[in-house]
Structures are given as C-alpha cells and as structure tokens.
Amino acid sequence: MTAQIRPSAAACPGCLAVPRDAVDEAPTSSRLALSLPGIHCQACISAVERGLNATPGVTSARVNLTLKRAMIEAEPDVRAADLIPVLGDLGYEAHELDLGTLTATQGDKAGRDLLMRLAVAGFASMNVMLLSVSVWAGATDATRDMFHWISAAITLPTIAFSAQPFFKSAWSALRVRRLNMDVPIVLALVLALVTSLWETTLSGEHAYFDAALTLTFFLLAGRYLDFRTRAVARSAAEELAALEVPRAIRLSDGVESEVSVGELSIGDLILVRPGGRMPVDGEVVSGQSELDRSLLTGETLPVFAEQGQGVSAGEVNLTGPLTIRVTAVGEDTSLHRMGDLVAIAESGRSRYTSLADNAAKLYAPGVHILSALSFAGWYLYTWDLRTALNIAAAVLIITCPCALGLAVPAVTTAASGRLFRKGMLIKHATALERLAQVDTVVFDKTGTLTAGTPQLTNLADFTRADLEIALALAEASAHPLSKSLAQAAGEAGVTAAAVSDIHEVPGYGTEGSFRGSRVRLGRAAWVGAQQSDVTAAWLDIGDENPRGFLFTDALRPGAEAAVQALLDAGKQVQLVSGDSKRAVQILAARLGITNWVGEALPEDKVERIKVLSEQGHKVLMVGDGLNDTAALAAAHVSISPASALDAARVASDIVLLGQDLTPIAEACDVAHRATKRIRENFRLATLYNVIAVPLAVAGLATPLIAALAMSTSSITVSLNALRLR
C-alpha cells in the first residue's frame, strides 16, 4: 500500500535468526545487490564503498552511480540485513534487491550487439564516404574503378554483419506473407549492392556503396535509440520488482528460519511480523492482529484477524505477530489468480496500431510499386536492363525510410527522457501515442489519490487532558492510526500523561491505567462503542462514554493539482473505488470530481472502463491495487504508482516513480506534443521524398544527391525531435 512498508519487509529482522551452521557447508561467496536511492556524488561513492569494504565478511563492493546500486561480493553468511544498518549509520538509505529479478545483464547483451553493429557500420561508412567523395570530386578511369572496388570490399562484409537485424526482421515478415518497414529497406540494400557491383565490373560512373552504408548506419542509430529508451525503462521496472524480496519466516518445531517464498509448501507454518506482507494464502493459526487489505480491495478500514481466519497474499499485517498455516503457494495464491482476470481484460483491449505501423502500411507497398513502375517504364523506353535497374535502385535508395526510421525513436527517446526526469517511467513503446489520445481519466482512490496514511480530522473536539492520555496510549503502538494520532498530538504541543501498565492487545488496541481507572484506545467493539463508517480509533476513559478520533486518508501530494489540471485540459475525470461509498464521496467532493462510484468490485471497474471505451472514449486508468489490475489492463493506457503491487505495475504502461501525482497532467501534455512532433517528422520525410523522388524517377539522381538528401533529412528529423527535451 505505501512505500514505508516496503523497507521493513525487505530489511528482514529474521535474517539474524538463521542458524550459522546451516550455511557453513556452502563455502562459495555470495552476491548481494543493494539499491541506494540517496547517492549522487563522488563522496557518496567513496563513503559507501569504504563502509562496505570495512564490514567483516565483505570481499568487494562496487557502486554503480548510474543505476544507484551497489553490487557486493561477500562471504556466504553475510546478509543484506547486516549491511543495511552499516549504510544507515553512514547516512545512506539502502534497500535489498532480489538478484533473481535483476536480469539487466541479459538485456544488455542485445544492446551491446546493436552497438557493435552500429560502430562497424559507422566505421565502414566513413571510410567509404572518403573514397566516394574523391570519386565525386572528379576521379576517373582506373582510379575510380579502384576506389569502387575498395568500397565494395569494405561494404559487402559490413552489410552482411551490420544489417543482420533488418534481414532477420524482413524475413520473418515475408515468411508470414506480410510487409513491414524492413522489407523495402532490405530490398533497397540488396538492389543497391547488386547494381553497384554490376556498375563497378563495367567501369560505370555511379556506385551506391556509400548510400547503402549510411542508410544502415542511420537506421541502426534509430534502432539503438529505441532500444536504449526501453532498456532504461525496463531496468527501472526490474528494480522496483526486485525491491520486494520474496522471503518468509518459516517455523519448524518452534525454530524460525528464513526461506525464500518459492520453498514454502502447503501446510508449512510461517510467521508474519507486524508491518510484513503476507507472502502466500493461508489461515491464521495463532495470534491476533489487524490486516490492511487496501491493496487487494481498496478498503481503508483494517480488518480484524484472529485464529481460523483466512488471509490472502498481499495483505499487510498491522499490529500483532501472526502464525499462518500455508494453504496455497505460488501460482495458486489469490494474487496470481488475479492474473487470469488481467489476461482476459488484455485480450479485449483493442489492438493499437502505432503511428509508425500506419506509416509503414502506406509506405512499404507505395515504394515497391513506385520503383517497379520506374523500372518497367525505363525498360520499355530504352530496352536497356542496366539503365532500368540503376534507376529502380536509385528510387528505392532515395525513398528509403531513413528519416522514417528515426522519426519515431528520436521523439520517444526525447519525450521519455524528459518524463523520466520528472519521475515517470514509460514502459510500453506506444504508451505516449496512446496517452495523447486520452479524453477520460479514471482514478482509483486508496493508494492512488490518497497516500494510504491516515490523517486525524477532529483533534479540536477533545480536551487537553483527554489528548494527553490518548497520546500516552498511542505512543505504545505501531498501528498506523496510533502513529498518526501521536504525530498530530505531538504537533499540537500535547505531552503524554503518566499512564501506567500500558500494553498493546494485538488486533484490538492499547490499554493502561490512569489514576486508578482503566483507559483504552482501540477498536469500536473493544471499548463498547458503535462502529462508524469512517476510520476511527476510540478512546475510553473510566466510566465516560467512548469517543472516537476520526481519520481521513491523507491526499497524495499533487493529487488536487493533478485533478485540477486534467479538468482544465478538458478531460473527464472519474473516481472508482472499492472503498465505502461515504469515504469515496468525501474525497470526490474534496477534489471536485462529480462522477464517482464506491464499493466497486474489480469486475465493476473493468465493466466501467469497457462501457466508456464502447462509447468511444479513450480511457486513462490510474490505479495501484490488485483490484485495479484488470481495469489497468483493459484501459486504453494506464498509470500506476511505484508503491503499487507488482501485478498492477506489470499491467500498466507508465509507472509513477515519486509520491507526487502532478506529473500525470504534464505527461498528457508531453505525450500530445510528442505525437505532434512524430507527425511533423513524417511530413518532413515525405516532403523530402516529394522533392527527391521525381529526380530519381527521371534518372537524374546521382549518388551525391542521394547522400545529401538522406543525411539532411535524417538530421532535420533528429533536431526536430530534440526540441521536446
């Protein structure tokens, strides 16, 4: 639900309870990864590395500032929980990362592969360009032929290596009898090489070796940009997932041991401490506590849990330790079953075709027809195969989608970079284009518009004496309501009364005695009060009537501004929540949202999105809980905060990294402008084709004209994209 819960779940207190001899038999070193969100300078790197290296058991530690991460090689018995306090003492916040989830190195391989091909293509095109410039400058006869032969010797192996991604993609499209952007590219490359070789053997004047290489270079640059943007998003998303280290404390014969969640089997007993999240579905065997189910259902009121009650994975234990008997693990837990709902919703999502695909659909057949027509025309006119083939190759090269290949990646790279700095992670390639079309925004309440932390509303209703007693009781508990009450009272300058015998009754509240009479702070039923529909903690002093401290869910920073900005931009804003109607109504009124629904089941949320979509609206869904997951998948585009459950983050296109909601409105604006730039780029590319294609068809194009036109259009398109930054 909230970010504050995650560190305590990761900083496992149970790590210390691992019996030492259990790990001694595995003498290999262990690798640990820590996320360090606070580091930013050289001093931080030195301090962290020195601190870690001085810790006994650590063999080596290396900080990566770009990823804000530390990789540690250590002896097998060193746990992340031992190192986190070391860094805490140095003043750096640290969280453990699950190495199994971090697979960035694999993604890196693909990026490195592209970079190599790009480098080889760049090297070759520079060299061939040098030779070509000499030809254009007037080299003739034997010199020109020699230059052409050297160019051919460089170009052929380079194309064979560097253009492989295009060959593969074109082949896979052709195999299923479809055309994609890569088919004309490959055709142009092959035709250019064939005619150039032919020309060279006949001592001809024009060879397009440089054009083929520059084309490959620019197109690979586009691919690489595209890849980088997605790799950054993916590694950040992986890091979010890796922060939730899947561990549980297993009880066997009364001995606690820490195991990974994957090792649990049905019937095991596990211990869940206050603040911990349920790793599996199960049944409470002993202990009493309260459960926060807001991530699963959107309810803000905690649910009482005692022996015999079923719990679901994802719920957060609030007050007392619970012993749970495991009833379902892995794929069978309710968390995972929710994934089925997502799959169904996703299949219903209308297939979005990106602007680039649309352009390719028009472009690919057009180019083929044009070059085939010019081949046929010139062949019939001159009955000379060589001329006709040369002109057809020139047409293909000139129309080749160099600028088109850069048009989309350059813009999305610039826009994603800009949004990333604002704290938004664009996960999906077409998310920006879809975001630009949005006209309706549907918000979830708990954890999305609200921070999930309670805020006291009626402090003024209590006398100072009462507050002093309440503060004394509240300070003894870690329950979110108590914490909030203690903070509010502390800010009002109240000091705790001398209440004695204070003890917490898990699941109920805290109790003590003050001047001989019993005082209690806790659940309504426990102090004998009427249950209210607003979150409340009840104070019971002696024989007086119990009175309630009422709480409201604190708004997330920027929630008001974001909603207002969206309304100002002419978008329809709705609120759909699983929480009680009254709670939803209060929040809707506070934010100025007129269209709201309370007590909505996950299916209701999906239904609402579907109805809106059928009415022709493009819906943006913003949500964080498991109950929103299917709705997130069904919406045209979706955003979830970083504190959301893993399943919700996976289902959404954009992840909000910070606490603040204001970037949402800005993202819509940036998406709008990005789409505008993409269209502009398409127009620029077309304009250049309109000028250059007639020249090529008329047989007037030379390799020099092709090179100039190709470079200028690619550079204009990239510069136009950079205006977004």
Partner: protein, 52 residues
C-alpha cells in the same frame, strides 16, 4: 598516384584500430556506469598508487 597505395591501407588500418578500441571498451563493460566514472575521477583515493 603511387601514394594512394600507401595512404588508403594506412587510413583503413588507423580507422580499424579505432574501431577495435571501441569494441574493446564495449566488451569490457566500460559504458555500464558513465555517471559514476565521471565522478570517480574526482576521488583522491588511488592518487598515490593504483588500486591493487
């Protein structure tokens, strides 16, 4: 024209050396942490002798 027989191979070899150098830096993970590397240069920790 004789000069071309020396100069063209030389230009190719020099360019090829640059390319090999770049491929080496890519293969040895030198682009993994550009931000950190630009900051580490400010550290005086290994100024007197290289890191063992």
């Amino acid at each position: 024209m004789q000069v071309l027989f020396y100069l063209i191979p030389i230009s190719l070899i020099l360019g090829g050396l640059g390319l090999l150098g770049f491929l080496y830096t890519v293969r040895s993970n030198q682009y993994d942490d550009p931000e950190g590397d630009s900051q580490r240069i400010l550290s005086d920790e290994w100024d007197d002798h290289p890191k063992p």
